[in-house]
């Protein structure tokens, strides 16, 4: 059984590694936009392959553990959670890649407006990912609920960004191609926060054996 504990620990570390790669991808993709650094954007795109590869590795390891160790109870919930979390992380990686793609396109034209809400959204989304993984590793049961609440803030910022861009587009059709791209970026970040929310919800399942997905959260427990 000591071997199994070691395998679970190694699995946890791999998920954390994937998490940190994804966090970096979010951070760098938005930085490549704000600092108009297309080389950095290309690096984010190039590194997405590594995220995908690690996602596959983790899935295979989870399948192997289920087959060979027949995990039960909290071990089973940990492994199934790891499998689902990595899918969300991989999708976040893809979205960061999309942000980088839009950044490259936007960097080729003059800057439409200073980026204020976008970095704010990225910061919150990145924190949500980090905290949800922290809760996953440490088995925190309260923190996921806090994380899920922060998703509303990102949603609000997304609406705000969109309305602002709409204003630009109405005023001057020349801004449309840039404004549309920025609106995409905003939407990508909003989706990232949604995936972080999924992770937090899965952590609650892992800790308590209770599925709260697709339900309204009432209070704190």
């Amino acid at each position: 059984m000591a071997i199994f504990d070691e395998e679970l620990r190694a699995l946890k570390e791999r998920v954390l590694k994937l998490g940190s790669m994804v966090e970096t991808a979010i951070h760098d993709s938005v930085r490549s936009l704000v600092e108009r650094d297309s080389d950095l954007a290309r690096e984010v795109i190039r590194k997405d392959h590594q995220i995908n590869a690690l996602d596959v590795e983790i899935d295979e390891e989870c399948t192997r553990l289920i087959a060979l160790r027949q995990p039960k109870a909290r071990d089973l919930r940990f492994i199934t959670t790891a499998m689902k979390i990595t899918t969300d992380l991989e999708r976040i990686g893809d979205l960061a890649e999309n942000v980088a793609e839009r950044a490259i396109e936007l960097n080729e034209e003059s800057q439409l407006k200073p980026y204020i809400d976008i970095p704010r959204m990225a910061e919150i989304a990145q924190e949500m990912v980090r905290d949800s993984l922290d809760a996953f590793v440490k088995g925190y049961t309260k923190m996921p609920y806090e994380i899920i609440k922060r998703d509303d803030e990102v949603d609000k910022l997304n609406v705000q960004v969109f309305n602002e861009l709409l204003f630009y587009m109405i005023q001057d059709p020349n801004t449309i191609s840039r404004a549309a791209r920025i609106s995409y970026v905003s939407k990508y970040l909003e989706r990232i926060a949604d995936h972080a929310t999924n992770i937090a919800e899965m952590v609650i399942y892992m800790c308590k054996g209770k599925m709260i997905r697709h339900t309204e959260i009432q209070g704190n427990e």
Binding site: M1, F4, K72, A73, R74, D75, L76, R77, G209
Partner: protein, 254 residues
Amino acid sequence: MVEKKNIFEIRDFSVYYGDLMAVKNNNLVIEKNKITAIIGPSGCGKSTLLRSLNRMNDLILSSRVEGKILFHGVDIYDRDTDVIELRRRVGMVFQKPNPFPSSVYENVAYGPKIRGIKKKSQLDEIVENALVRADIWKEVKDKLDESGLSLSGGQMQRLCIARSLAQEPEVLLFDEPTSALDPISTANIENLLQELQKTVTIVIVTHNMQQAARISDYTVFMYLGELIEFGDTDTIFVNPQNKLTEEYITGRFG
């Protein structure tokens, strides 16, 4: 609300072997046509509890019980219980296959004969029916006169199940019925139990937790004579409520 059919109700039930309290104040219901698995480490009292359900423990001289076990609402430990009839209605299959040293046919016909059934055609029907239900008819129909001991381990165990079924029991108690069998024979027995569940209520003691997970509807976890947790098998194996249960089924016990 659909009324659940409880065939057994175990109430504040304890078993002593001399001074040793092997089963401590257990409370449990056994639902009709379900498979209830009892798991727990060696010496936890699971076999004692199982054997109490048809008073097999009476055979151990130093044993005595407290509390009640209601079978269809009647306490089987009442003084006027017909223990022979109780054991016909609540049959038992053991760990090691133990056919009588007689023919396949005689093994199955033994019980009905004791009950006074003499007509050959009627016995033939009972024997065939029991062997069919135990899913061994095809394998033995041409060697009914051969010794039951000439069969393979898995076949012998199914013969023993057929022998119990010939008594038309309402409940079958299984004490580690596959621990002496290979994986294929084990799978056959497990499939058989799930088939039998339609007509017979099953209680099984097993050391093989995966077996409990695979076939049972309810799981009971016992430790040191106490009933620690009882619940849907799904719940016990995915999200047990008791820390001891969790430690036991994840193999981190002790």
